[in-house]
Symmetry: C2
Amino acid sequence: MSNATPVWNVMLASCPSRTSLAKIANKWTAMIVISLSDGPARFGTIRQTVEGISGKVLAGTLRDLERDGVLTRTAYDEMPPRVEYELTALGRTLREPLTALGLWAEQHIEEVLDARDAFDRRPASV
Amino acid sequence: MSNATPVWNVMLASCPSRTSLAKIANKWTAMIVISLSDGPARFGTIRQTVEGISGKVLAGTLRDLERDGVLTRTAYDEMPPRVEYELTALGRTLREPLTALGLWAEQHIEEVLDARDAFDRRPASV
DNA sequence: CTGCATCCTTAATGATACTG
DNA sequence: CAGTATCATTAAGGATGCAG
């Protein structure tokens, strides 16, 4: 037969799964998914939670994630506008690994800072 | 006393843990850590495994990861040179979440492609 | 409030050449 | 082989203004 499942492999430069990995292995995506872990949230709320993200980047990232089926966008026809974002079933499968990365960064930052310090302190070449 | 543990929070723009998250939530870091999951590997081997990565980017990313204590670099004084990279205990704690991201990309790429297709197919605004 | 469009700045990546 | 240095290119990000 010729309808075998393609072998997706992120290590292959041209494999679509690599592009997909590039999108989820990203700081903004991680923080946005984490911020939606507790339930749906509005654009402005996410923007406040993910401190420092610009409106342009947030809008673009949310759009990409919506396009990839990671979250849904619900716009209510009100004035002023209200838009809510919510993780899909697919997006919820990203919570665990991405939350783990966020926790890793927080829980191991002191080790990292120490390692960085030791690295910068060592002689250039003896 | 004033030696309380600081409250690290990746959501804060100026928190060092955010910079740390930015480094690990990155496609190159993910692929490199995955490629080192089975044990130490040489520069050239990693470069072959992570197809498409340039020597410059690989060298730079490896250096950053070494500096942060995620992996060790061992240069053997031979000719031609031989250098081996290996995950540290700290780096091994990254295997699980980063491998999970790689697997997610491969296992859900069809769902993602379908979602993308549906998104692009929908009417612009009615 | 949301979010797109535009312009501008900076960071990331690529290609190539070269050295221990 | 494993880098580093340089140059050229591209992508990401930030600031602002405006529209629905």
